[in-house]
């Protein structure tokens, strides 16, 4: 079963050709790392799956993006339905200026789930999954802004988990965190893989090596190489990949 798939996708911002004829498949319960130099289109690629690029007026694309065997860009499908099924974690922790509880409950509430028992249960489950429950279970009413950066990021992960997505997108989720918080996030990703499919953008090659099963290397909007992580780092097929991971450019 293929979980998410991109076929012959091209993306433009005005005249910038940000993705060039990219095709890729993602298997369930894997972590795929997207690597490549700044501006090569990793974020653009990631944001295809929940149509976040649509928010940018100059964005144009062609090709197909499938999630759960549904064409994400088809006219019949509803955009909020897609976004509900695809979780996203951003580079900087961005909790809402609300309580910890309401942050996690947000996704349920906007999708019309207000049953108190259901909400409470989901919040607890999501916080447990994101390994934050023990730290915050007594202060759920506290403002999320009072948490530390690492805690905030795990809260954002819990928030994404609460709507039970199949696919989780992470755009450099640990780049603004200290080493210890980063390690915790990495552990967490490793746990989450059992239940979810994860696509992860990272600039940290060691990180990609540690936690991903597969790695895709992008360069100037093109997919250069997509391979098992071990293979790609130890013995890449492409010479550009070789140059990049050995630090000769980028």
């Amino acid at each position: 079963m293929t979980h998410a798939e991109v076929k012959n996708v091209n993306v433009w911002y005005d005249t910038i050709h940000a993705l060039k004829d990219v095709s890729l498949k993602f298997e369930p319960n894997t972590v795929t790392a997207l690597i490549g130099p700044s501006g090569c289109g990793k974020s653009t690629f990631l944001r295809l799956f929940n149509r976040m690029n649509d928010l940018i007026p100059s964005f144009r694309m062609d090709g197909t993006v499938m999630v759960n065997n549904q064409d994400v860009y088809s006219k019949e499908i509803r955009i909020d339905e897609i976004r509900k099924n695809v979780g996203m974690v951003f580079q900087k922790p961005n909790p809402f200026p609300k309580s910890i509880f309401e942050n996690v409950a947000y996704g349920l509430r906007v999708n019309g789930i207000n049953n108190k028992a259901v909400v409470e249960e989901t919040v607890e489950r999501s916080l447990r999954q994101s390994a934050l429950w023990d730290e915050v279970k007594d202060v759920l009413k506290k403002s999320a802004l009072e948490l530390s950066g690492g805690q905030q990021q795990r809260l954002c992960i819990a928030r994404a988990l609460a709507v039970e997505p199949k696919l989780i997108l992470m755009d450099e989720p640990a780049s603004s965190l200290d080493p210890i918080s980063t390690a915790r996030i990495e552990e967490l990703i490793f746990e989450l893989k059992k239940t979810y499919t994860i696509i992860l953008v990272t600039h940290n090659l060691q990180q990609a090596g540690r936690i991903s099963d597969l790695t895709a290397f992008f360069y100037l909007g093109e997919l250069i190489e997509y391979n098992l992580t071990k293979k790609l780092f130890l013995n890449p097929d492409n010479v550009q990949t070789q140059n990049y991971i050995t630090g000769r450019f980028g």
Binding site: N50, M52, L55, P57, D80, E81, R83, K84, V86, G87, M88, F90, K92, N94, F96, P97, K98, Y106, G107, R109, V110, N111, S143, L145, E146, C156, R159, A160, V163
Partner: protein, 403 residues
């Protein structure tokens, strides 16, 4: 650095420093002058200079307030008993009433017998009250000059009558104007708030780039139109319209003032609120949308709560704009200084009263002082508004810093 250069720099710094001091000095000067002229109202008796109020020696009322005096001469008070005195009905005597009491022969062609006659009359009439120029009061006056109490702050603020030029005693109660100001302002906000917010939200959240580039100049132009022009437009278009629509005798009403002021408060509100909405971080919007929220849900659950303090600032600044506005309200609210609690009746606001009456006052007179006292009230309103904006800003800073 050469010596000349150093001196030059010193001088420039000095000039810069003194310029910046002028601003603070101006604010202080404004306060000083407003209070200097305005406090005068509470330090003088409100009767005209050179005039006295006198009663019979038998009268036991010790002092009299200006309101009581006004009531006496309006014939609302007719017996000294009502003021805690003896049971004598009040007989008023001013220069105008002379012919009803004395014959011309008695007084003589040039009123030379008047002081003497007056003494006789006062002795025999225990209920009399005189309001006369000092020159007519004889040396051996048989009556008693009764002191008039100074105006109290409470009388000033809660007094319901504003008759600044009436004789023998003017009345300076600003309650009608306070009510007028608050009603007109309230009405203006009632109108401007929904339209201002809708426009701000439309510009920052809904409109595309092209529509936004149309809306921005519209708001700027609205802000640029001078207030007399709004007043003029209100006077020739809105006032007749309201008159016809509600079948009123006059169209100059609180409602007309509210609408005109509402339009004038719009640009302030829209600009400040739009800035506040735009200041909501993109990442919060994206996080909300990524969870499957619609734009509307994102707006009400994330953007507006985040921009709350900016939005309150917008409302407060809009209120400030409305409270202080002078010419436009003066032109469309009709000049009624009676207490009025209806939106379909004329009224007059504090600034409009100042603008309408200051030209007729004499420098240093009671009326002149009263208008400055009115300005102090207005000034206090604006200080309160500024302070609340400041407080909101600081509180918001704290909240955001925590995050």
């Amino acid at each position: 650095m050469t010596k000349a250069r150093r001196i030059y720099e010193k001088i420039v710094t000095g000039i810069l420093f003194s310029s910046s001091t002028i601003t603070s000095l101006t604010v202080i000067l404004i306060v000083v002058f407003l209070f200097r002229e305005g406090i005068g109202l509470f330090n003088t008796t409100p009767t005209e200079k050179n005039y006295v109020i006198a009663v019979s020696r038998q009268n036991t009322v010790p002092v009299i307030t200006s309101n009581e005096l006004a009531d006496i001469f309006n014939q609302d008070i007719t017996n000294w008993k009502q003021l805690g005195g003896r049971n004598d009905s009040i007989i008023r005597l001013t220069l105008n009433d002379l012919s009803g009491i004395f014959t011309e022969e008695e007084l003589g062609p040039n009123l030379e017998n008047f002081p003497q006659k007056l003494n006789e009359y006062v002795k025999t009439t225990p209920g009399v009250i005189l309001y006369l120029s000092k020159e007519y009061i004889p040396k051996n006056f048989a009556g008693r000059i009764i002191p008039v109490k100074k105006i109290s702050l409470l009388d000033f603020i809660f007094g319901k009558h504003w008759y600044p030029t009436s004789t023998p005693i003017p009345q300076f109660g600003i309650w009608p104007m306070i009510v007028g100001t608050l009603m007109v302002t309230f009405g203006a906000i009632l109108f401007a708030l929904p339209f201002g917010m809708a426009t701000a939200i439309f510009m920052s959240e809904i409109a595309g780039n092209r529509l936004r580039t149309i809306m921005k100049p519209v708001v700027e132009l609205l802000a640029g139109i001078p207030s007399v022009v709004y007043g003029f437009f209100g006077l020739v278009v809105l006032v007749p319209l309201i008159q016809r629509l509600f079948g009123l005798d006059v169209g100059e009403t609180v409602l007309a003032g509210s609408i005109v002021l509402g339009i004038m408060a719009l640009p302030t509100m829209v600009t400040v609120a739009e800035d506040a909405l735009n200041s909501t971080p993109k990442s919060l919007r994206e996080a909300s949308l990524a969870l499957g929220a619609s734009e509307l849900q994102t707006l009400f659950r994330v953007v507006i709560p985040y921009a709350k303090s900016g939005i309150s600032t917008a409302v407060i600044l809009g209120t400030g704009r409305a409270i202080g506005e002078t010419m436009a309200v003066l032109m469309v609210t009709g000049n009624s200084t009676h207490v009025n609690y209806s939106f379909l009746q004329p009224t007059r606001t504090i600034p409009a009263t100042i603008a309408a009456e200051l030209g007729d006052t004499s420098f240093g007179g009671v009326h002149y002082n009263a208008l400055f006292a009115l300005a102090i009230v207005l000034f206090l309103f604006t200080i309160i508004i500024n302070l609340s904006v400041e407080v909101i800003k600081n509180r918001n800073k704290e909240v955001n810093q925590r995050g």
